[in-house]
Symmetry: C2
Subunit: 441 residues, 2 copies
C-alpha cells in the first residue's frame, strides 16, 4: 500500500449539511473510510423548521461538483430553471434581465431535499457511516482527534487521518484554528436581516411566471422570490434590522407592503402576510473570512466553515460545492497525498473564496445602498458578460476557477487589491454589475 | 446617592498592563472602588524577559491622558525626547526628518518603568486594590461576573458594576463578546516579525545621537533604534518571517548585516550580534479590530483588547491611553451614567481606533512594500503637516479627536471609505505620508 493509498485511511466529515454530505461522497468514491458527524437528527426522519433559507440557486459551479459524483441529473430534475431576473417596480411594472444566453439558466432547488438526497447518496457507499445527533465538543486538529458527544452518552474520543470541517458559519472545527499563530480571521454581521414569506399556488398553478428569480428592488429594502416544486414561491425580504423592528403590528406590516410591495399583497395573501411576518424574527447574515483553510496535514475547512458569504451573489452553496470539487481534483493530481493536498488547497482556494465573498458583499452594498437605474444595470451586466466570456475563453484551460482568476488578474493589472471591497466596487462599476447578480458560472 | 454616583460602585479592571493601570487611576479618581486583576506577578518585584518591546514612543495623545491623572511630568522626566527621524542609508549616510516644529518631539520611554509607575500611582488610591497572579478564566459580561483563578487556589466568582477589559490583543474578556450576535471581529497577522537587539553605551555615552528615532529603511526590511535612559539603544529589526528563518548561523547574520546595516555592526558589536540574534525567535505582529467595544452596560474593552495595531505608526499605546481619557471625559459629560457612557464610547471611539489601525497598516505597507524616495517622503510629510494643522485649526474645538475627524471628513469628501486600507493609501499618497511615521499628535 503506497503512502497516498486511501484504503485503510479514515476521514471524519464534521457536519452533515450540503457541503458535508457532498464531501462524504467525494471521499468515499476515492476509497477512504468516511464517518460523518452531524449534531442534528437525520433530516430525512425528523422534520423541523430552522429559520434557514428554504430554497437556493444552484448554478454552474455547483452542478459541476454534483456531476463529478454522478448526481447532477437527479438534482437538476427536481430544480426549477430560472432563466432571468424578473424585476417588479413599485408601480407594478415588470421586466426581465436574463442570466445569460438563451440556453443558460440557474436552478431553484429545495435546500432540505438536496440535503436529503446527498445524505442518501453518501450512505450508499459501504465505506461511509453517518452519525446523527453526534455533536462535536472539540478537537485536536494536529493529532486528528475529535471529542464527540451523543446525547445521554459519555463523550467519545476518536482519531482520524483527516478531519474535514463542514460545520458551517459558526464552525466548531474552526475554533481550533483560532489558537494558531498566523491564522487570520474576520467575521462581519451586515446591518440587514432577512425574513421568509410564502406565495402559495393559485388555482393549482404558480401565482407568477415560474421560470424567473423575482426581484422587488427598493433601495435599502429588497424582496426576492424563488419558485418551488409544489408551485409555491418562497419570498425573502431583506431589510435593515431597525426597519424590521419598526413593524410591530399586522396593520403596520400591511401598510409597509402597500407602499413598497403592493403587487405582492394579493400573492402572499393579506391575512397570511399579517400573520407570517411575526412567526420568526428576522435572521442575521454573517460574512466569515479566514486563512489558511488547513491545519497541519490533518484538518481542512470547506464551505461556510471556511467562507460564509452574504447571499447577494447567490454563490454560497455553489462555492462550497466547488471547494469539494477542487479538493478532489487536487487529490487526483497529487495522488491522494494529504500532506501535499492540504496546503495546496489553501493556496489555490483562499483567494477565490475571498473573491466570491467580496463580490457578494459588493453586491450587497451596490444593491442596498445605491439607486443605480436598472437599465444601467442591464447595460453593465452585458458589459460584464462580455468580459467574463472573454475571460473564460482566455482562461478556459484553467477550469472552473477561470472566471475568478481572470477577474483577479484584471483587478491586479488595474492596481486593485483583491481583499478590498471598495476597490472591487469601483472596478466593477467599470466592468459591469447588476442587481442581485446570481451568476450562472 | 444618585444613580450615577460612583461611591459604592465597583469596577474590575482586567489586566494590569499600561492601559489597565492607567484606567485604574482614572476610575479611582472618580470615586469608584477599583480592583485590578493581572495574571502575571507584580513586575515591580519579579523581573523577567517577555519578548515584548522594551521602549515605546509616547506622543501628544498619550501625554494628555497622563496629564489628566497628574502623571505627565513624572513620566516625561524619565523619557528621552526624539525630535526627528534619523535615516541611515545603506552607504552609511545619515539625514533627518523632523517630527514637527522645533519644539515638537516624541518621547522614548521604558515600557517596564512606565508600567511600574502607573501601578504604583494606582495603588496610592485607597479605593484601589491590585491583584497580581490572578488569572481571568471567564466572565459573564452581562451580569458583571468574573471567574478568577489564583494559582493553587479554587476559582473565585466576583461581581462588579463594570468590567473593563484591558487584557491585551489576546483578550479573555473579548471572548465573551465573540458570542454576541452582531459583534464584528477581525484579526490579521502580518507577514513580518520583529526582533530586538541592543546598542550598548560607548565610553559611558550614547553610541549615536540620542535625540532621534533612528531608522534604517531597507525596502522589505527595516531596523529602528530608540534611546534608553541608561544610554543604550534598543534596536528593533522588522523583517518577513521567512527572511528571519533563512539566517541560521552567526556567520549568516553577520553577512546579512554587512549587506544591509553595515554601520550598525560596530554599534551592536559583532560578537553580540551573532549571539543575540538567536536569543529569542522573531515575534509576530497582529492587528485586531472589533465593534462594538461595549456589552450591555456592564463591560467595555480598551487598549489592545479593543484594537491591537501594528507598530508602524507608533500610536498603539497612545491610542490606548486616549481610550481612557475619552471614557473619562464621557463620564464627566454624562454624569457617571454607565448605561449612557458605554454605548457612547463605542459610537465615538470605534471609528477613531479603526482609523489609527488602518493608518498603522497603511504605514506598514507603504514602508515595507514601496521604495518611495525619502526626499519625497519629506515633501509629503510637509504637505501632511499643513493639512493636519489646518485641520486642527478648523477642528480645534472638537478636541483630541480633531485630527482623526478631519482626515475622516476629508476622506469622506473624496468618497473614500474609512475602513479601507487601499482607499487610505491612495488618499494619503495625495495628502502626504512618511516612513515610520510616528505622529506627534
Amino acid at each position: 500500500m503506497e503512502p497516498g493509498d486511501p484504503r485503510g485511511k479514515r476521514v471524519a466529515v464534521v457536519g452533515g449539511g450540503l457541503v458535508g454530505a457532498l464531501n462524504a461522497c467525494f471521499f468515499a468514491r476515492r476509497g477512504f473510510h468516511v464517518d460523518v458527524y452531524e449534531a442534528r437528527e437525520d433530516i430525512r426522519v425528523a422534520s423541523f423548521a430552522r429559520g434557514r433559507s428554504i430554497n437556493l440557486a444552484l448554478s454552474h459551479r455547483g452542478r459541476q461538483a454534483l456531476r463529478a459524483v454522478g448526481m447532477e441529473e437527479q438534482i437538476v430534475s427536481k430544480g426549477i430553471p430560472m432563466r432571468a431576473r424578473r424585476i417588479h417596480t413599485p408601480s407594478g411594472k415588470k421586466y426581465s434581465i436574463p442570466y445569460g444566453k438563451k440556453n443558460q439558466y440557474i436552478l431553484s432547488v429545495d435546500r432540505a431535499n438536496l440535503n436529503r438526497e446527498l445524505l442518501t447518496a453518501a450512505e450508499k457507499y459501504s465505506n461511509t457511516k453517518l452519525y446523527f445527533g453526534h455533536k462535536l465538543l472539540g478537537c485536536n486538529a494536529e493529532l486528528g482527534k475529535l471529542t464527540i458527544k451523543r446525547s445521554d452518552q459519555q463523550p467519545l474520543e476518536v482519531t482520524y487521518d483527516l478531519i474535514v470541517g463542514c460545520d458551517g458559519a459558526f464552525s466548531t472545527v474552526r475554533k481550533q484554528f483560532m489558537r494558531q499563530m498566523r491564522f487570520n480571521y474576520s467575521h462581519e454581521y451586515i446591518p440587514h436581516g432577512y425574513m421568509e414569506l410564502t406565495i402559495p399556488p393559485k388555482d393549482g398553478d404558480f401565482a407568477m411566471e415560474p421560470n424567473y428569480l423575482h426581484i422587488w428592488p427598493r433601495n435599502t429594502f429588497m424582496m426576492i422570490a424563488l419558485p418551488n416544486m409544489d408551485k409555491s414561491f418562497t419570498c425573502t425580504l431583506f431589510m435593515p434590522f431597525e426597519e424590521f423592528e419598526k413593524l410591530t403590528t399586522g396593520k403596520q406590516v400591511l401598510g409597509f407592503f402597500q407602499i413598497h410591495f403592493p403587487d405582492a399583497i394579493p400573492l402572499i395573501g393579506e391575512r397570511e402576510l399579517k400573520h407570517d411576518y411575526f412567526l420568526l424574527p428576522a435572521q442575521a447574515m454573517i460574512s466569515v473570512k479566514c486563512s489558511s483553510y488547513h491545519l497541519a496535514s490533518r484538518c481542512v475547512l470547506m464551505g461556510d466553515a471556511a467562507h460564509a458569504v452574504v447571499p447577494f451573489y447567490g454563490q454560497g452553496m455553489n462555492a462550497g460545492f466547488e471547494d469539494c470539487l477542487v479538493f478532489d481534483e487536487l487529490m487526483d493530481q497529487l495522488h491522494n497525498d494529504l500532506g501535499a493536498c492540504l496546503p495546496e488547497f489553501s493556496r489555490l482556494r483562499v483567494p477565490d473564496d475571498h473573491a466570491i465573498s467580496d463580490l457578494a458583499m459588493y453586491n450587497y452594498i451596490e444593491v442596498t445602498f445605491t439607486r443605480i437605474r436598472y437599465h444601467e444595470a442591464l447595460q453593465r451586466w452585458k458589459w460584464q458578460k462580455k468580459i467574463i466570456n472573454r475571460g473564460l475563453f482566455v482562461m478556459g484551460a484553467a477550469g472552473l476557477g477561470g472566471t475568478y482568476l481572470l477577474i483577479k488578474r484584471l483587478a491586479r493589472d488595474l492596481n486593485f487589491c483583491m481583499e478590498n471591497l471598495w476597490g472591487w466596487s469601483h472596478y466593477l462599476k467599470n466592468i459591469g454589475n447588476f442587481p442581485f447578480g446570481i451568476q450562472v458560472a
